[in-house]
C-alpha cells in the first residue's frame, strides 16, 4: 500500500500546527511558564509559544500553547477496527430476519448498574427513535424490550434467559474513573458464567464507546455518538448470519 503520511495543518501543508491547553498545579511565574513550554516540547511540539498563561489562584495556572507538532502518522499503515457490515434500511433488515431466523429476533436493551442515562438506549430501542430514525420497537421483525435505567447485570441476565434473548444492547454513558469498564466486564463475566456468551450477540453503546474498546472488553461491537437504530440492527443481523455460516 502506498504510504499516506499526515501531519497537523495550520496554514501550510506540513506545518504541524496544533493548539494545546492545560492546567499546572503551581502558581504562575517565569519558571512555571518555562515548564509549560518544556512540557509542550516533550510532546514533540517545536517552537511552543505560550499564547496565554494565567494564574487561577490557589496555586494553579492555566496555559494555552500553540506550536508545531513534529509527529506525523502514516494513515495507510493504520488498521482500524470497525464492525464490517453494510447499513441496510428497516425493510431490508426485516426481510433478512424473516429469511434467516423465520421468527422475531429478541433484543433486550438496558442502561446497566449505576448508569441512569436512558436517552441513548431509548434513541436506539424506542418507537420514537432519534433524529427521525425510528427505533427497534418499530421493526416488526424484532421484539425490542427496553429495561431502562440502572438495571443490575444479574437482573439483565435473568431476563435474557427468560426472554430467550438473541441480542443484548447495553448503554454506558458515565465513564468517570472508568466505571463503565467495571460495569461492562461484570456483565460479560456473568454471561460467560451462565454459558450464554456465545449464544447472545452482545453490543455496547455510548458517547465514549468505540468499537475498538468494545472488542477489547469481549463485546461483539461498540457504537458511539450519532448511532441510529438501523446501524445496530444491520450489524446484528449481519453478525447473526455470519455466526450461522461459521
Amino acid at each position: 500500500m502506498t504510504e499516506q503520511w499526515v501531519k497537523p495543518y495550520g496554514d501550510t501543508l506540513g506545518d504541524g500546527r496544533v493548539q494545546l491547553s492545560f492546567t499546572l498545579p503551581v502558581a504562575l511565574d517565569e519558571t512555571t511558564k518555562e515548564g509549560a513550554k518544556r512540557l509542550a516540547a516533550m510532546m514533540g511540539i517545536d517552537e511552543p509559544a505560550l499564547a496565554h498563561a494565567e494564574d487561577m489562584g490557589r496555586g494553579f495556572s492555566f496555559f494555552i500553547v500553540y506550536g508545531l507538532c513534529r509527529h506525523r502518522v502514516d494513515l495507510a499503515s493504520l488498521h482500524v477496527v470497525k464492525p464490517e457490515y453494510e447499513v441496510l434500511d428497516k425493510e431490508a433488515i426485516n426481510r433478512l430476519i424473516a429469511d434467516k431466523l423465520g421468527r422475531r429476533m429478541v433484543v433486550l436493551g438496558a442502561c446497566i448498574e449505576t448508569d441512569a442515562h436512558t436517552v441513548g438506549i431509548d434513541a436506539i430501542m424506542n418507537m420514537k427513535g432519534y433524529n427521525g430514525h425510528k427505533g427497534l420497537e418499530s421493526y416488526h421483525g424484532m421484539r425490542a424490550i427496553n429495561l431502562g435505567a440502572q438495571v443490575d447485570s444479574e437482573d439483565l441476565v435473568a431476563r435474557a434467559i427468560e426472554e430467550q434473548a438473541d441480542v443484548i444492547l447495553v448503554s454506558q454513558v458515565v465513564t468517570q474513573k472508568n466505571i463503565h469498564l467495571d460495569n461492562l466486564t461484570r456483565l460479560s463475566d456473568l454471561l460467560e458464567a451462565e454459558g450464554l456468551r456465545d449464544k447472545i450477540i452482545l453490543v455496547v453503546g455510548g458517547p465514549r464507546i468505540s468499537h475498538e474498546l468494545a472488542k477489547e472488553l469481549g463485546y461483539d461491537a461498540g457504537f458511539g455518538t450519532k448511532t441510529y437504530a438501523e446501524d445496530v440492527a444491520s450489524f446484528v443481523i449481519h453478525e447473526w448470519i455470519k455466526r450461522g455460516a461459521a
Partner: protein, 514 residues
C-alpha cells in the same frame, strides 16, 4: 427587560389549580410515614454512626422497629422511652439496639416519652437555629455575593480533592459550590458515613463530607470577603435524612424536588411525596434554599415543545413548598436553557421562557441551568452556547446561575473548565450590566406571543392534572415523557401507614403547630 404582557388572571388560575393538586397529594400522603422520615427523625434526636458492617445506626433502629411492628407509631417515642427507662443517650440506645442488647417497645409512659422527645427535638431545633443565625452573621460580617450567584459544581469523587477544587472555584468567583453526588447514591436506602474518597461522577453525600466542605468554604469565604454557599442533593431514597444532616452542618441550598426522584430515579411516588414533605420542612426551618429540578425534563423532552411542562411543574413545586413552610425566597425553582442550537430563533424562545418564569415568580430565587443536552464535544461551540445562556440569565434577572461548562458533553469539570466558565459569565454580566433595563420586548411580537402561548399551555395542563390527579398525570408521562405508576418504583416497602397515635415531635416545632 420591560415586562411581557401576561394575563394575571390566567396566572392566578394556573396557580390555584396547582394549589389544589398539591393539597390533594398532601392530604392523601400525610397518613403515611416512611423509613427514611423516621431515620431522619432519629438523626435529629441525636442518633448517628454506623455498626461494624458500616450500616448506619438510624437504619438499624428503624429496621428493628419495623420488625417489631412499631414504626407506625413513630420512632421518636420508642427511643425516648427507652432512653428514660435505661438512662441512656439516644446514641447509646441505638448502639444497644444494634448490638442486640436492647429491644425497643412502646414507651411505658407515652406522654412522658413525647414530652422528652419534644424537649430533645427543641434542643436540636435550637442548634439548627444557631446555624441559621450563624449563616446570617457570617453573611453580614464577611459579605454577600452579588446577584446572580455563580453556582459551580465539584465532582471529583474524593472529598479532599473536591475541597481543593471548591476553594479554587471560589477564588475564581464562584458564589455557590455544589458537591455533586456519586451516581447511584440516590438509590441507596441509607446514607454513607464519614469522609469518602471514592465516588463516580461525584462524591458521596455524608455528614462528615458536609462538615469538611462547610469548613473549607467558610475559610475561603473569609479570605475572599464573600460568604460561599454550599449545596448538595436532597433527593433519592434518603431525602429527609440528607435534609437533617444539611440543617445540622449548615448547608445553604439543597436540590430538592417534589417529582425528580419519581421521574428520573424511578423511586416510588408515594415514598417521594412523603419524604419530600418532611425534607422540605427541615429545609424551610434551616433557612435552606431549595432547588427544584424542572430543568431535567428538558434533558429527555424537547425544550420548545415541553416548555409549558416546566412552568406547570414549577407551580406545583411552589405549592408543595408552601405546604412545608418554605418562603418564596427559599424557592429556587429550576428551569434551563436547553434549546436546540440549530433551531432558528431558539434564543428568542429561551428569552421568552426565562422572562415568563421571572414574571410568574417575581419573588422566587430562580435557578437557571445552562445548556447540557445539546452540548457536544465541540468545546468551542459549547462555550458560545454557554455565553448565550449567560446573556439570557442577566437579561431576565435570574438569581441562581449555574455555570455552563464547555466540556459538558465530555466529563465532569476539570479545573480549567470551571475557570473558563467563570470568565465567560463575568464578561457577559459586566459588559451587559444594564442591558436588562435598556431593552424592551416588542408588544405583540414573537417573544411576547411565545410567552403567552407557554403560559396558556401550562394553565391547560394544570387543569387537566387537577382533573385526573397528580399520580395519574405522572402515569401518563406528562412530565419529561417518562411514565411512572403509584405502586411502581423503588422504596415503596419503606412506606408505612401511620397509626392513629403516630407521633413525631418535629412538625409542630418546625412548622409552628401545623
Amino acid at each position: 427587560m420591560t415586562q411581557l404582557h401576561l394575563d394575571q388572571a390566567q396566572i392566578d388560575r394556573a396557580r390555584d389549580s396547582a394549589r389544589r393538586i398539591a393539597q390533594r397529594v398532601y392530604d392523601e400522603m400525610s397518613r403515611f410515614t416512611t423509613t427514611t422520615v423516621e431515620r431522619a427523625t432519629l438523626r435529629l434526636l441525636g442518633v448517628d454512626g454506623v455498626d461494624e458492617n458500616l450500616v448506619p445506626l438510624p437504619n438499624r433502629v428503624v429496621s428493628h422497629l419495623q420488625e417489631r411492628q412499631l414504626l407506625q407509631h413513630g420512632a421518636a417515642s420508642a427511643v425516648l422511652g427507652a432512653m428514660k427507662e435505661h438512662g441512656l443517650s439516644a446514641m447509646q440506645v441505638a448502639e444497644a439496639v444494634a448490638a442486640g442488647t436492647l429491644s425497643l417497645n412502646r414507651p411505658k409512659n407515652e406522654a412522658a416519652a413525647r414530652a422528652d422527645a419534644d424537649a430533645q427535638a427543641r434542643s436540636m431545633c435550637e442548634r439548627i437555629i444557631r446555624q441559621r443565625t450563624q449563616r446570617e452573621a457570617r453573611i453580614k460580617s464577611v459579605g454577600e455575593a452579588s446577584l446572580p450567584w455563580l453556582y459551580l459544581i465539584v465532582a471529583t469523587g474524593n472529598i479532599h480533592e473536591d475541597i481543593v477544587q471548591a476553594q479554587a472555584a471560589a477564588e475564581q468567583g464562584a458564589d455557590i459550590i455544589a458537591v455533586i453526588r456519586s451516581t447511584g447514591q440516590s438509590l441507596l436506602d441509607y446514607v454513607p458515613y464519614g469522609a469518602t474518597t471514592e465516588g463516580f461522577g461525584g462524591t458521596y453525600a455524608t455528614q462528615e463530607n458536609f462538615r469538611l466542605m462547610r469548613a473549607a468554604l467558610d475559610e475561603v469565604g473569609e479570605r475572599l470577603g464573600r460568604y460561599i454557599r454550599l449545596t448538595n442533593y436532597c433527593s433519592g431514597l434518603c431525602m429527609p435524612e440528607i435534609a437533617a444532616m444539611g440543617a445540622i452542618e449548615r448547608l445553604d441550598m439543597m436540590l430538592n424536588d417534589s417529582m425528580y426522584g419519581i421521574i428520573f430515579r424511578d423511586i416510588n411516588m408515594q415514598r417521594t411525596f412523603i419524604d419530600q414533605f418532611f425534607s422540605r420542612m427541615v429545609n424551610a426551618y434551616a433557612g435552606v434554599i431549595i432547588n427544584t429540578g424542572e430543568d431535567n425534563y428538558l434533558t429527555t423532552a424537547d425544550a420548545y415543545e415541553a416548555a409549558h411542562t416546566v412552568l406547570a411543574s414549577q407551580l406545583i413545586n411552589e405549592q408543595f413548598a408552601y405546604l412545608s413552610g418554605l418562603k418564596p425566597d427559599q424557592m429556587g425553582l429550576g428551569h434551563a436553557f436547553e434549546i436546540n442550537p440549530e433551531m432558528e430563533n431558539g434564543f428568542l424562545w429561551e428569552l421568552a421562557h426565562a422572562q415568563l418564569v421571572r414574571q410568574v415568580f417575581p419573588d422566587a430565587a430562580l435557578k437557571y441551568m445552562p445548556p447540557t443536552k445539546h452540548m457536544s464535544g465541540n468545546i468551542f461551540m459549547g462555550h458560545l452556547q454557554d455565553a448565550l445562556f449567560n446573556i439570557v440569565s442577566t437579561a431576565t434577572r435570574q438569581n441562581i446561575h449555574l455555570l455552563g461548562m464547555l466540556t459538558e458533553a465530555l466529563h465532569t469539570p476539570l479545573i480549567q473548565d470551571r475557570f473558563l466558565a467563570i470568565q465567560n459569565a463575568k464578561y457577559v454580566f459586566s459588559t451587559m450590566k444594564d442591558l436588562h433595563a435598556e431593552i424592551q420586548f416588542k408588544p405583540g411580537g414573537l417573544i411576547e406571543s411565545r410567552a403567552q402561548t407557554v403560559l396558556a399551555e401550562a394553565e391547560r395542563m394544570l387543569a387537566e392534572i387537577e382533573e385526573i390527579g397528580l399520580p395519574a398525570a405522572i402515569g401518563k408521562g406528562m412530565f419529561a415523557e417518562i411514565s411512572r405508576t403509584p405502586d411502581g418504583g423503588k422504596g415503596l416497602d419503606g412506606v408505612v401507614r401511620k397509626s392513629d397515635d403516630y407521633y413525631n415531635p418535629f412538625p409542630k416545632l418546625m412548622l409552628g403547630g401545623r
